[in-house]
Amino acid sequence: MRDFSYLRAGSVDAARQAAALPGAMLFAGGTTLIDLAKCGVAEPETLVDITHLKGLNGIELSESGATIGALAKMSHVADHDGIKSRFPAVSEALWQAASAQIRNMATIGGNLMQRTRCPYFRDPANFPACNKREPGSGCSAIGGVTRGHAVLGTSEACIAMYPGDLAVALVAFDAIVHLGDRQVPVDDFFLLPGTTPDKEHAIEPGEMITAIEIPGSASARRSTYLKIRDRQSYEFAAASAAIGIEFEADGRTIRDLRVALGGVATKPCRARAVEDALKGKMLEPDAVRAASLLAIEGAVDHGANHYKLELAPRVVARAILKMGETA
């Protein structure tokens, strides 16, 4: 870890100005940033501490939905009554993320900005080749240990998995990322690696996440987040699904369905093919299982992550059926 200067921002504007300087990085909970600095991946020249900014840690619910300040802690959002009742998938995604200690430190803004867990990305001393870290240097993961790498949204340049949970639920419910005045749909906020895996978010230097807005909906109200992993807690997803469902008045016909996948793709990923296949249909186990296979259409595995092709559709199906049961 090299020396850096520390700056405590007095206002959002000041923070944005400071963050625009070369080598400057915003510092929120620090759970990603310090970790990456220890690995030698992040080498900030200036840390712009935003934790003291006022008015950014609120959670507001209105008719139209929820607005969560960028500095709200993961644990607070997870435990918020309004979020639990109107957006259960969001609360559940947060509860199943990281550990209690990390959730108490980490912020929602920082959470959206967390980086991949690709072991090659995290070890520059041993693996200089990493297009995400050093554009054009190559990809050490391809041909290496790929058990945790993505099967969807990969490119020749990078196959790193997006590891977060919250954003999967946000993508399912069309959340909007507020960058001060600018607003970006969360699906557009996360970028596919393509030929520029170093560019992960639709955010420019000098911009800062100020809030996340989640539109309320019937499907968000009846939603869940199912996360599957070898270890029961404190592990990233082997595969996960955020599901929301709304039935017609008959209680059986699917009016609206939201499906998003985690643990398998290079970004939090909406499975619209599954949604489209089931919307307007009755909720039948066989139909759900068949439609869930569409979740991994076009997926490409790299050997050790082949199991995700089997696992992901089963996670989607289980979550949909579970939501159906509670109808």
């Binding site: 090659y120 070890d123 001393a125 041993n126 693996f127 240990v145 070898d230 404190y234 199991y307 089963r314």
Partner: protein, 765 residues
């Protein structure tokens, strides 16, 4: 040196907690919980400098050049150590005390045999400066092809280790003619001790005297190594290790990073601190070697074993030798008339593997205890019943009587509590919604390792008792059981006893490894305390100033800190009053359990090597601890995820010096076994020969959520062939057999036999 007084025990345990066998709470607990316990590297010293290691990024080859210019110029840098600049050391003897070759030893490598080998170190005024400068060092290499692991085509069959060969009868012929035959291969991956407290030390020289503050499972053994490296007398090295944040075998030996720090301190003339990063703890020393075993069993149709043929292989490093004794459980668990076991070791480009909780027995049990389960299904007999049918009434290998073997009792008690009789035999026959339920059983064992120990017991003027030993407490409870031993033997309340451990200046002790320390040290303290008590009683009877002098008694009793006559007809005097009356300010006795004719050389060898350890089959008996694990798993049929939902284990560790601590160690072993079965695996990048999951986010150990309630039942009886007070081993026993019990339960749940640990979801999906 650390001192422990009892502040408050566990009220629920009552006064009986204080004697040997009582449930006294850990006397070091409050200091740890309140944060006043200072660990070795937390020591604040004036002028402390900080060292950071630079490690090889290739697995095989040579260092061509180390460019340290930028690092040397970086702020705060005091020194850059490379193979060219570091002072030369002498090769030290191994832990058997084998005289070393007369050649220099350099803890920084020019010849690279594994990724993560120390090649340089930076010492700076602050830790951060050292880290920053270390990143500036440029090392160039001439790389050669590495042998990645056991499955590498270049690895070959390895080197036969003849000393591991065990044979009786004609195993091959008996196998060939057996009506039922099973044969399977079982693999365990590289596993890591991953103690909470990473390895590290502070080294300080004062002329030719070295003090090392370092977490250690063996102060005297490590002091010997440092002394030999630097060519100074053993007495000139002092090791201080008040608390140890977990070792699991990995803190028993002085390691190369310790040599680097001690060299830096000597060269700089300042104390130097060096602490490994978490990733370095995966390559700076060895974890459990990866192993492969094939187990073939020939049996009759009733499941009676006629032959076992076992072949094992473990990884070792290119230039070091580690043998993980894979036939250790195979040869003694079941009665078999014909047996053959052989073992090879294969050299691969990794750090030399090392001891990790129950080295040998642990992977060995995974092989034989899975194989007998396979045999049970093959012949259609209950897995518990087949174990009883093949029960070994004596040690089949040594052909000696067991000192004690409460394994039948363990099977009975465990089965009863678990409800084993309700098990339906067919795989996939028990379920709860999407969850397939499986019940598995497996046995475990660990030999009783014995050695000799030494302790001082002092009875002080205020009536308190002081115990001193250079043995250590890494959480297993040495402080506590020695309090209990001294309190009971002298006859004082436990809160009158102070135990000092963790300083090599104190009376000597052997390694805290192989589950031997409790038996060794309770024996030594018992002996020293008995002799201190005898002196006290002798004084009371014979000294004319004693209030007991006129009593004409030939013995007296001490209880609760007071002396009286057994008939109750004389005075009743506190120890402090008695000492005052006879004009003594203390009584001191040294006790050691060495044979009476031992020479000083014998003693040195006993405490600084493992060469004097007594074989567990010495004399007429074969001495082992035993256990039986009954485990329920739930496997999600869609996801392949395995959750352990119930554990009942019955264990025979002989007499328990403190059941509360023993239970907690057993549970710890079982938890570690759950991790081994389901999660733990060092994953190697085959192109680079490097472990890539070298941190605790990626190398998974169980969390609380992975652990169900664990019930442990003690079925042991005092075993006086094993130790002075009747205990056998506790610390390593309980991990042995957990992984096969889980694998067997997974088979029962799913019908899939997983023979490669860990049992991760993709193996079941």
């Amino acid at each position: 040196m650390t001192v422990h007084n009892i502040r408050h025990g566990d009220a629920s345990d009552g006064a009986l907690a204080e004697v040997v066998g009582g449930r006294l709470s850990r006397v070091d607990g409050p200091a740890k919980i309140t944060g006043t316990a200072k660990y070795a590297v937390e020591r604040q010293l004036e002028g402390l400098a900080y060292a950071v290691l630079v490690e090889s990024t290739i697995a095989s080859g040579k260092v061509r050049e180390i460019n340290a210019n930028a690092a040397e110029a970086a702020p705060g840098v005091l020194q850059v150590l490379t193979p060219d600049t570091i002072i030369s050391l002498r090769t030290a003897s191994d832990w058997f005390g084998t005289p070393p070759p007369d050649k220099p030893y350099c803890p920084l490598a020019r010849d690279i045999t594994f990724s993560g080998q120390h090649v340089a170190a930076v010492v700076a005024e602050t830790f951060e400066q050292a880290v920053a400068a270390a990143a500036l060092i440029k090392v160039s290499y001439d790389e050669t092809h590495a042998i990645v692991d056991l499955s590498d085509a270049k690895a070959g069959d390895g080197i036969p280790i003849d000393a591991m060969t065990k044979e009786w009868g004609d195993a091959q012929a008996a196998f060939a003619s057996a009506p039922v035959r099973i044969c399977a291969a079982y693999n365990t991956p590289r596993e890591y001790q991953a103690p909470m407290e990473p390895h590290g030390l502070i080294a300080r020289w004062e002329s030719d005297r070295l003090t090392v503050w370092e977490p250690s499972q063996w102060l005297d053994g490590m002091a010997r190594t440092y002394a030999e490296w630097f060519g100074v007398p053993f007495e000139n090295v002092r090791l201080v290790s008040p608390y140890i944040g977990g070792g699991f075998g990995s803190k028993a030996l002085a390691l190369s990073h310790g040599a680097v720090a001690a060299c830096a301190a000597k060269m700089l003339g300042r104390p130097v601190r060096l602490v490994m990063t978490r990733p370095q703890t995966f390559t700076g020393y060895g974890g459990r070697a990866a192993t492969r075993q094939t187990v073939t069993i020939g049996a009759d149709r009733q499941g009676k074993i006629q032959s076992i043929v076992h072949r094992g292989v473990n990884e070792t490093s290119i230039d070091g030798m580690w043998v993980e004794p894979l036939g250790s459980v195979t040869s003694i668990m079941y009665a078999t008339p014909n047996f053959s076991s052989k073992q090879n070791v294969v050299r691969v480009n990794s750090v030399v593997p090392g001891p990790m909780r129950a080295p040998g027995e642990n992977p060995s049990a995974f092989g034989i205890e899975s194989a007998i389960d396979e045999l049970a299904y093959e012949v259609g007999i209950d897995p518990l019943e087949i174990r009883l049918r093949n029960y070994a009434e004596q040690d089949p290998e040594a052909k000696k009587a067991w000192s004690t073997r409460q394994l039948r009792e363990a099977f009975a008690a465990g089965a009863e509590r678990f409800g084993w009789s309700r098990r339906t035999p067919e795989p996939r026959s028990m379920r709860d919604g999407n969850q397939l339920i499986g019940w598995g059983v497996a046995a475990g064992t660990y030999p009783v390792r014995r050695a000799y120990g030494e302790a001082i017991v002092r009875i002080l003027a205020d009536g308190s008792v002081e115990v001193e030993s250079s043995s250590i407490d890494m959480g297993q409870g040495t402080y506590t059981i020695l309090v209990q031993t001294a309190a009971e033997t002298v006859g004082v309340p436990a809160d009158h006893v102070v135990v000092k451990l963790g300083d090599s200046r104190l009376p000597r002790a052997g390694v805290a490894g192989g589950s031997r320390l409790a038996g060794v040290m309770t024996g030594a303290v018992h002996k020293a305390a008995t002799s201190a008590l005898d002196q006290l009683i002798g004084l009371a009877i014979s000294d004319p100033r004693s209030p007991f002098h006129t009593l004409q008694a030939n013995t007296l009793v001490v209880a609760n800190g007071r002396m009286s006559s057994p008939r109750g007809d004389g005075p009743d005097v506190s120890i402090s009053e008695l000492l005052k009356s006879v004009g003594r300010d203390h009584i001191e006795a040294t006790g050691d359990t060495m044979p009476a004719n031992s020479t000083p050389e014998d003693r040195y060898k006993n405490y600084t090597t493992i060469a004097m350890a007594l074989p567990h089959t010495e004399g007429d008996y074969s001495r082992h601890s035993w256990c039986a694990h009954f485990i329920e798993v739930r496997v999600d049929e869609d996801f392949g995820t395995v959750r352990v939902s119930r554990v009942v284990s019955a264990l025979d560790s002989g007499r328990l010096y403190n059941p509360k601590l023993a239970e907690s160690q057993w549970k710890g072993g079982i938890i570690m076994g759950i991790g081994q079965a389901l999660l733990e695996e060092g994953i190697v990048d085959r192109r680079h020969g490097r472990i890539v999951n070298n941190n605790l986010a990626d190398y998974l150990v169980p969390t609380n959520a992975d652990i169900p309630d664990i019930e442990v039942i003690s079925v042991g009886i005092p075993d006086l062939h094993s130790s002075v007070l009747g205990g056998k081993g506790v610390g390593e026993l309980a991990i042995v057999g957990v992984a096969p019990a889980i694998a067997n339960a997974v088979f029962h749940a799913t019908g899939k036999r997983v023979r490669d640990l860990p049992i991760t979801l993709e193996k079941l999906i």
